[in-house]
Amino acid sequence: MEIEELTPTIEEMKRVLEGKIDESTLIEELNTYLNVYKVSLEAAKRGILRKYGGDSGFVTAESINKKIDALEGNEQNVDLLARVVFIEDREIQTKNGPRNISSGILGDDTGTVPFTSWESGKFQLEKGVTYLFKNLYAKTWNEKVQINLGSRAEVERKDDVNLGMPERTYSYSSHEAKVSELREGMSSVTVTGKILSVGPKEITSRGEKKTIYTGILADETGKVEFSAWEDFGLSDEEVIQVKNAYVRAWRGIPQLNIGDRSEISRVDDDFDDSMGIGESSIKSIGELIEVGGGLDITVLGCVVDLRAGSGLIKRCPECNRSVFNDECASHGRIVPVQDLRMKAVIDDGSGALTAIINRDISEALSGITLEEAVDMARSSLDSDAVSHRMEERIIGRWVKARGNAISDEYGLMLICREASLDQLDVKAEAEKLLKELEVMM
């Protein structure tokens, strides 16, 4: 983007930031967000405001009318006049089974914002059409504003309104990124990687059945889930280059979308096994917090706490949800199934996350089997006896944990697929540090 196009933005941001940042820094920041990370102008503005301490939001019970760039991510009830720039239907898994939702991007003359319509069947939104959206709520996922159409939402079609919105607000030349560099909101991105798996998936898109192709793409920096909205004839083990893909995030995990503007070419890249393609990537927790999540991640850190809900728990035999007092919210009075679980806070010095650890791994890490736990709880008459024993065995221990990292309103979580106590060659690491010190002295 050229500087001239950005002048109104720069003026506006200078006003909001009230001298907390000088103009040259601001321009450089904008340049970094827009041209290095290729995020939208809106995302860039919000990112910069947050970094340098812009204003915080306010909430009123009455619905308020806003432009997209004024959204702060905490609105409970907001109206928007906006055009559907992009929309797709998707099926998500909820506790009550699969559910159809629609998501996409809304735009007005001030910017764009991702949205989700949770009552997919209620509104037949069309791409390219302008609507007045009423009673929406905004949330912040991974520091980015998202708009939600919930059960209270109302939508009015406004064919006669001209938003003064450019047909394509910004176009970027496609730029190359490694898998680990993919961030929510990037568009026109080029990625080269090996397809670890791919398969067709039936979805219902606006009342019509459609086949999309989903799978996992990997390079030497990590793995990413992709969805191809056309049949490109993709197959396992192929090395491909995807141009003009865009990145959306689901629960913080960046996902690569291969849409109708994307191109795919087969390349002769020498992705051999020595590069560690397909292996779990080791990340610092600080970096994961910044990105929001990731697929097949390994972290190393010290267990500094066990959260409530760790230890011996009861689950509904029907829906597997954890229950108290033999009563399930969906299934009423039940005979619960006993289970072991740990919610361990792992801290590596750069940040902390909650690792969700299932029965098998909890047994191995704590050395307490489910049967022993049941006996322990019965004989001690203390429902916390098991979690206390687990705390003694796991807090203050360094662990290596692997799984998918996701974000929600409680922060970053790692759904553990594997976890074990970590053995580090402390002496070798100390010698490495000593060498560095001696060089610097």
Partner: protein, 297 residues
């Protein structure tokens, strides 16, 4: 709300901290800025539990404990709002290796000095390997901060945004700038010595000598003590002990501020006094009944 990271930080650095950033809004966290720019709310520490004492009552215990690392001692206070840590401390006998996760707290007498303690969320027994791993991580993070401070000081005017642009973690960049503003330029040999002490603990067979001023790595300090120097240290200890007796007017211990004044008259500076009182504490001759007071045992 993002959970505060547990900083790995040596006692020597933590206890030298004087600058606090209070949270402006309700429930917003407070931070302690260390001389090397760590912006600390929570710490993870490991070391030897040297002593513990219940200075509360049987019904309402208030545990004080001291955990030693290669550079000094962490002062731990756990009361009824730290139920897990209090219960764990009640079961423990010193000495043993422990790891502590907790929040930093400060106490400032009217004279403006700041005493740092740790209010534990968790305290657990660990093995020597875990202690060594913590010492390694504390060395690594101390070194990261020293380098960060160095690159900030290399600028004509240290600038937070510039540091972030160069790839520094924004939290650290903020802490570094606050630290430079308050403490000025910290003496790096002091922190290099902490690194040296930490690395010597992990690598006892290598005679690590970073060539710091006034340092002699070849002399094991427990055996070949310079008799003259040792003598003067012992004299100072006697002197401080006698001050403690005089200044303890109400039986609750001598206020540290008064002790410092008297010591200064005898030419014992603050750093020297800390060494002497630490040595006395190590020998079990004095203790801190409450923060900011010292009492003869």
């Amino acid at each position: 709300m993002i959970r505060e990271t547990a900083w790995r930080i040596f006692a020597g650095e933590l206890n030298s901290s004087q600058l606090e950033m209070k949270g402006e809004e309700e429930k917003s966290p407070s931070y302690l800025i260390t001389p090397l720019g760590a912006k600390v709310n929570r710490v993870l520490l490991a070391g030897v539990l040297m002593e513990k004492e219940n200075i509360g009552s049987e019904e309402e215990p208030m545990w004080k404990a001291r955990v030693q690392d290669p550079t000094g001692s962490f002062f731990i206070n756990a009361g009824r709002y730290q139920p897990e840590a209090s219960a764990a401390l009640a079961q423990m006998e010193a000495p043993r290796f422990v790891a502590v996760v907790g929040k930093t707290k400060t106490f400032s007498p009217d004279d403006g000095r700041v005493f740092v303690s740790v209010r534990p969320e968790r305290i657990v027994t660990v093995d020597e390997d875990a202690r060594d791993r913590w010492v390694l991580e504390a060395c690594q993070s101390t070194w990261v901060r020293m380098k960060a401070l160095r690159s900030a000081l290399a600028m004509d005017t240290p600038d937070e945004n510039e540091l972030v642009k160069k790839g520094m973690n924004p939290v650290l960049a903020n802490g570094i700038l606050e630290a430079i503003g308050y403490y000025g330029v910290s003496e790096s040999s002091r922190y290099l010595r902490m690194l040296q002490d930490g690395l010597r603990m992990i690598l006892p067979d290598q005679h690590i000598d970073l060539g710091l001023p006034g340092d002699d790595a070849d002399l094991p300090d427990e055996i070949d003590i310079d008799p003259e120097k040792a003598g003067s240290d012992l004299d100072q200890e006697d002197l401080i002990l006698s001050f403690l007796e005089i200044l303890d007017t109400d039986g609750k211990g001598a206020p540290f501020a008064d002790l410092q004044k008297e010591a200064e008259k005898e030419g014992i500076g603050a750093a020297q006094l800390e060494e002497v009182t630490n040595s006395l504490m190590d020998k079990g001759l004095v203790y801190e009944p409450v923060l900011g007071r010292l009492k003869k045992i």
